[in-house]
C-alpha cells in the first residue's frame, strides 16, 4: 500500500489561532479512516484542508498521484440552495461534472449510471422531485448518489450521518463499505464511537493536537478518549505566537 495523502507537520487555523496543531501522518491508499474528537477539535478543518478548501498555516499536505483521478468532498452543511428550482436529477447530475465539463451533454451511459446511483441510495422514482420537497435524509441520500457519480478515488465525508434516521444511516454505511471494497480511500468525520468501532478499520483521534492515529481498536481506548476530552476549546485572544520562544518544531518546517 502506498500513501495517498501525507500530512507533514500540518497546522491549520483561523486568524492565526490553530484549530489543528502540528499533525503528521499518512493516509494509505484504499484505507478507510474515521476522524473523531470532541467538538472544536479541528476535524472539519482537517477535512477542509485535505479537500483544498483552506490553506495550511504551516506544514503541508502531500497528495499522491491517485489524487488526480478525483476527490469527492461532502461538507458538513452543504451550501445547497434548497429554494433553487432544481429537481433531484439536476442535483445528482452535478456529480458528472468532471466528465461533462461546461458543455458536454449527458450520454446514455451517463443517464444509466445516474439511474443506478439513485437506485443505490434508495431514491429511484424521485428523479423529478423538487429539491425543496426532500427531507433531510432524502437530501443526504441524493448527495451520496452524487458522490457515487463522481467516481472519485478519494472520498471525504464530513459528519455524513448527523440528524439522519437509522435506516438511512445503515443504507448509506452500506455504500461507504462498498467504496472501501472498491479500493477507494475514504475519510469520514464521525461522532458515533460505536459506528467507528464497527465500520472503520482506521481512526484518527484529534483534539487540536493529534492524540492517536492507527488501527481503530488501538486508538479508541479509554485512556485516549479521556485525553481527547481534556482538550480545551478555549480560543485565547492573547495567546503568545509560537515564534515568541515556543519551540514546537516550527524551525523544522521553515
Amino acid at each position: 500500500m502506498s500513501a495517498i495523502i501525507k500530512l507533514d507537520n500540518l497546522t491549520l487555523g483561523y486568524d492565526g489561532h490553530p484549530a489543528v496543531h502540528h499533525v503528521s501522518g499518512t493516509f494509505e491508499q484504499g484505507s478507510m479512516t474515521a476522524v473523531v474528537g470532541p467538538n472544536g477539535s479541528g476535524k472539519s478543518t482537517l477535512l477542509k484542508a485535505i479537500a483544498g478548501v483552506i490553506k495550511p498555516l504551516d506544514g503541508s499536505i502531500i497528495r499522491g498521484s491517485d489524487w488526480r483521478q478525483g476527490m469527492a468532498y461532502l461538507p458538513q452543511s452543504a451550501e445547497i440552495d434548497r429554494s433553487f428550482p432544481a429537481d433531484v436529477t439536476d442535483l445528482v447530475a452535478l456529480g458528472l461534472w468532471k466528465q461533462r465539463g461546461l458543455f458536454g451533454g449527458i450520454s446514455r451511459a451517463d443517464a444509466e449510471r445516474l439511474e443506478a446511483a439513485l437506485q443505490a441510495v434508495g431514491l429511484a422514482g424521485f428523479e423529478r422531485r423538487g429539491i425543496d420537497t426532500l427531507s433531510g435524509g432524502q437530501l443526504q441520500r441524493a448527495l451520496f448518489a452524487r458522490v457515487l457519480l463522481q467516481d472519485a478515488k478519494v472520498i471525504l465525508l464530513d459528519e455524513p450521518f448527523t440528524a439522519i434516521d437509522e435506516r438511512t444511516v445503515s443504507d448509506l454505511i452500506g455504500l461507504v463499505r462498498r467504496w472501501h471494497g472498491e479500493g477507494r480511500t475514504v475519510i469520514a468525520v464521525l461522532h458515533d464511537a460505536e459506528m467507528v468501532r464497527q465500520v472503520f478499520p482506521q481512526t484518527l483521534l484529534l483534539a487540536r493536537e493529534l492524540i492517536d492515529w492507527g488501527p481503530t481498536e488501538a486508538v479508541m481506548t479509554r485512556e485516549n478518549l479521556r485525553r481527547s476530552r481534556g482538550m480545551t476549546e478555549a480560543w485565547d485572544e492573547h495567546a503568545p505566537w509560537h515564534e515568541d520562544g515556543h519551540n514546537h518544531g516550527h524551525e523544522a518546517a521553515q
Binding site: A51, G52, V53, M71, A72, Y73, P75, A78, E79, I80, D81, F84, P85, A86, D90, L91, L94, W97, K98, R100, L102, F103, G130, R146, Q150
Partner: protein
C-alpha cells in the same frame, strides 16, 4: 374606436412607436432570463445598484459627444464593469461583504454621474439619461440593442450550466472546478450589458425594471428554471406592448408606463399566481393520502 385603432394602429402608423415596441421586446429576450438568475441568486438589489453604477460612464460619453448612442453605451458598460469588479475585489480581500461594498461604490458612481451630466447638460438631458426615451429609439439604437441581446443570449447559453451549479451548490462547484468565480464575473458582465442596452429605452434607473419585475412575477406561476425564463420573457413582452399602448392613448411617459404594467402584472401574480398568496392559502389543507 375599432380594435385596430386601439391595439395596432399606433405601431403601424408611427415609426417611432414600432421601433419602441421592437426595442423593448428584443431587450426583454435577454433581460428576462438575466433577471430570473438575479432573483434566484438573491441579487435583485444588485441589479438596481448596477443600474445606478452605469450612470457616470454614460454621462462621460454624453460629455464627450452629447446624446449619442455608442459613446454613452460604451461608457456605461465600462463604468458598470468597474464598479462590479471593485465590489467583487473588496468582498474578496476584505471583511466587507459584496452587498455593502457594492452599495458604497454605486453611490459614489451615481453622485459622480449626476455631477458630470450637470457640468454640461440641462435638467432635460439628465432626465433623458435617468429615465430614457423609448420613443426616440432610432435604427442605430435598435441595432445596438439587437447586438447586446445576441451577445447576452450566447453568453448565457455558454455559462448556463456553471451558473446553475453556482446557484445550486457553490461549495460543490468549488470542489470540482475553478469556473465559479469567472462565471460570477461573466454573469455580472451580462447584467451590466443588459442594463446598458435598456437605458437608451428606459433610462439607467428604469432599465432594471424590465429585468426584475417579469422575473419576480414569473416565480409565482412556474417551478422550472427554463419555464421561469420563458415566462419572464413573455411578461416582459406583454408589459412592453401594453405600456406603449397606454402611453400612446393617454399621452403619458412611455418608459414608466412599461414598467408600471410590469409592476401590475407582478402585483397580480403575487396575489393570484399559482404559487401566490391566495392560492397557497386556499389549498393548503388539500393533500394526498401519501
Amino acid at each position: 374606436m375599432s380594435f385596430y385603432q386601439l391595439l395596432i394602429e399606433p405601431f403601424a402608423q408611427y415609426g417611432f412607436m414600432g421601433r419602441a415596441l421592437a426595442g423593448a421586446m428584443i431587450l426583454t429576450l435577454s433581460a428576462g432570463p438575466v433577471g430570473v438568475f438575479l432573483t434566484l441568486r438573491r441579487m435583485s438589489l444588485t441589479g438596481d445598484a448596477m443600474a445606478h453604477a452605469i450612470l457616470p460612464g454614460a454621462a462621460a460619453g454624453f460629455l464627450i459627444s452629447g446624446l449619442a448612442i455608442l459613446p454613452m453605451t460604451l461608457g456605461g458598460f465600462a463604468a458598470g464593469l468597474i464598479v462590479a469588479l471593485l465590489a467583487g475585489l473588496v468582498a474578496r480581500f476584505s471583511i466587507q461583504r459584496e452587498d455593502s461594498s457594492l452599495a458604497a461604490f454605486y453611490l459614489i458612481s451615481l453622485a459622480l454621474g449626476v455631477m458630470l451630466v450637470s457640468l454640461r447638460g440641462s435638467n432635460v438631458d439628465l432626465m433623458h439619461v435617468l429615465f430614457g426615451t423609448v420613443l426616440a429609439l432610432n435604427n442605430d439604437a435598435l441595432i445596438m440593442i439587437g447586438a447586446i441581446v445576441s451577445i447576452s443570449l450566447v453568453g448565457l447559453a455558454l455559462i448556463w450550466r456553471a451558473l446553475v451549479a453556482e446557484c445550486l451548490d457553490p461549495s460543490f462547484l468549488r470542489s470540482v472546478s475553478r469556473a465559479g468565480h469567472p462565471v460570477h464575473l461573466v454573469f455580472l458582465g451580462l447584467v451590466v450589458l443588459n442594463l446598458v442596452g435598456g437605458f437608451q429605452a428606459l433610462g439607467t434607473l428604469l432599465a432594471v425594471g424590465l429585468m426584475m419585475l417579469p422575473a419576480a412575477a414569473a416565480r409565482f406561476w412556474v417551478r422550472g428554471l427554463e419555464a421561469m425564463c420563458g415566462l419572464a420573457i413573455g411578461i416582459g413582452a406583454v408589459s412592453s406592448y401594453f405600456g406603449l399602448l397606454i402611453s400612446y392613448h393617454l399621452s403619458v411617459a412611455s418608459g414608466p408606463a412599461i414598467i408600471l404594467v410590469a409592476g401590475l402584472i407582478y402585483a397580480a401574480s403575487l396575489i393570484f399566481g399559482r404559487r401566490g398568496v391566495v392560492f397557497s392559502r386556499l389549498h393548503s389543507r388539500r393533500h394526498r393520502i401519501a
